[in-house]
């Protein structure tokens, strides 16, 4: 086992997959000479050269489409968006080209592409730079949506994503890049579509992903002193959801809280709640609650931003509600 930052784990995944398969290339703003806006691609230009690590003009729609075109004829592009906020400009290529090319062509033309970059809020970046759009992409048939929370999962899932033949939305986090964790040595792949129980307990299931995993683990720690133990289920993939893992945990604990960073209305957590109530309703001893970011554009002010975000305290509050302890 090695201890790596989430950033370095991603860097290793990129390096290993580019060395393994000459069809894999990285394209995006500042990925080459600048070493990556968040340094995820540090050293790759020097190792693989400018044909395979390609700096683009500031043209998200254009270079996302370039990636899709290259994938259509069999290359395996990794398209980096500096943040997923800017990828809104590329939505036509992700949704109207990548997601539906295989279907529209009657199975003839696939798009083995990975769109990756940081998603969600950091610290005081303001309304246009703090958004979580996984629900929008998870809504689209033809896409897969992957959101690792830990360095080990980041490396294993990025490697799997690059080898996957479908278009993948891969969402990281600026606040995750410095997180350290243990990463297995050697070839480490994590399957897409499989959740991971990060902590086991009996009284409640905390369903989470990306930045809320650490917050749920903190909440679970705090709840132990009240004699409450929690399953912390890290979804890791939003589309497709690992329904088996969700239902198994809820079948054990009979109570669930779904925790996500983004806005509440039609968030990805809403889909999880629907799946649970539709399929394992009789397992439930309480309604399924959600903890989400506040339903507002992200304010700049430090205290307002804090109030807008999910916290371990809010998660503990929701757990107590489903246990009828309030």
């Amino acid at each position: 086992m090695a201890t790596l930052t989430y950033r370095d784990a991603l860097n290793q995944a990129l390096r290993e997959e580019m060395a393994r398969d000459p069809d894999v290339f990285l394209m995006g703003e500042e990925v080459g000479v600048y070493q990556g806006a968040y340094k995820v691609s540090r050293g790759l230009l020097e190792e693989f050269g400018p044909n395979r690590v390609v700096d683009t003009p500031i043209t998200e729609l254009g270079f996302a489409g370039v990636g899709v075109g290259a994938a259509m004829v069999g290359l395996r592009p990794i398209i980096e968006f500096m943040t997923w906020n800017f990828a809104l400009l590329a939505i036509d290529q992700i949704v109207n080209s990548a997601a539906k090319m295989r279907y529209m062509s009657g199975g003839q033309v696939g798009v083995p592409i990975v769109f990756r970059g940081p998603a969600g809020a950091a610290l005081q970046l303001g309304a246009q730079h703090s958004q979580s759009f996984e629900a929008m992409y998870a809504h689209i048939p033809g896409l897969k949506v992957v959101m690792p929370a830990t360095p080990a999962d980041a490396k294993g899932l990025l490697k799997s994503a690059i080898r996957d033949d479908d278009p993948i939305v891969f969402m990281e986090g600026e606040m995750l890049y410095n997180v350290k964790g243990e990463v297995p040595e050697g070839e480490h792949l994590v399957p897409i579509g499989k959740a991971d129980l990060k902590r086991t307990g009996e009284q409640v299931t905390l369903i989470c992903y990306s930045k809320t995993v650490a917050q749920c683990l903190k909440a679970a720690e705090a709840l132990e002193s009240d004699g409450i133990s929690a399953d912390v289920l890290d979804l890791r993939t939003i589309r497709p959801l690992d329904l088996e893992a969700i239902f198994a945990s809820v079948g054990k604990t009979h109570r669930a809280v779904v925790v996500e960073e983004g806005w509440s209305f039609a968030g990805a957590g809403a889909q999880v709640v629907d799946e649970i109530q539709r399929t394992v309703f009789d397992e439930l001893d309480a309604p399924v609650l959600r903890v989400t970011g506040a339903d507002v554009p992200m304010p700049y002010n430090k205290q307002l931003e804090k109030a807008a975000k999910v916290s371990p305290e809010k998660i503990v509050g929701a757990v107590k509600k489903v246990l009828y302890l309030e």
């Binding site: 254009g62 529209m104 062509s105």
Partner: protein
Amino acid sequence: MATTKPARRTDTKLAERYREYLRQMLLIRRFEEKAGEAYSLGKIGGFCHLYIGQEAVGVGCLSQLRPDDYITTTYRDHGQALARGVSARAVMAELFGKATGCSHGKGGSMHLFDAPRGLLGGHGIVGGHIPLATGIGFAIKYREQDRVSVCFFGEAAVNNGAFHEALNMAGVWKLPCIFICENNRYGMGTALDRATATWNISERAASYDMSREVVDGQDLSEVMAAMDRAVVRARRPAAPTLLEIRTYRFVGHSMSDPIHGHYRTKEEVEAHRKRDPIVIWTERLKAEGVIDDAAYEQMDTAIKAEVQDAYEYADQSPEPAAEELYTDVYAPTQAPAMGVHPSS
């Protein structure tokens, strides 16, 4: 002194090719006429955009390509598909939504695909496929091949951001792309001069450090010559070209738009019909002794039979199986039932 006759080219390979181009243009014309009929009979649903009047552009451009070159185009794609060699049967069956269609009934008129022939769609978002063509050009250069990525779009697409971004990257990276603007003067119902600040579209190539030409799209020989120059330029070492090919559609934007609609006068349409690309090419071939009236009639009769056969084939072909609703959402190598939640 007797008037000199033009040189006769009846028995050369060139004559064969010239007749083949006529056959292709006539096939497109008769096919599109039949598709229009089929649409009115309810055999074809949704949108149907016909290529009538623009045949020389598709045939002329594609005549200069190799089998391993790549093509992306718009929703007005029947002509390019037929010129690329997709059978009339496969195209008609796709328009009818049948399992035997070139996209297996899942794409429809706007999404004709034939991957082995390098026909990579058939795209419905104006301008949206142009970055794809740049990406294909990127892949060609990445692999150090000498193929060409050809992209057809209408003149209305050049005002779209995707056009600008795609051509800029093709220009800065020197990609083997040929961007073909089929300027038929109308973006749906909006005339060029109402939507576009500069009407000489080819001039935009200067923004992208790219070669350019303006071409009379009703003259097949001019189209072929310009395309030949662009293809030579695109193969090693690669350089992109913007071709502005001026043409005219003799019918409405789609089946729901009458021949001249509110935005073109009957007189204008009729004036343009006088420059029918098929008539222009036929007259030339007749003058050079490559074809005579009887051979032309024979060709047209055979084509009409081919189109009728395609119509019947499409009509009698099976619908896709019910399970096809859920196939090809994801790659078959991946986990099963990806698009289907068990409880939905």
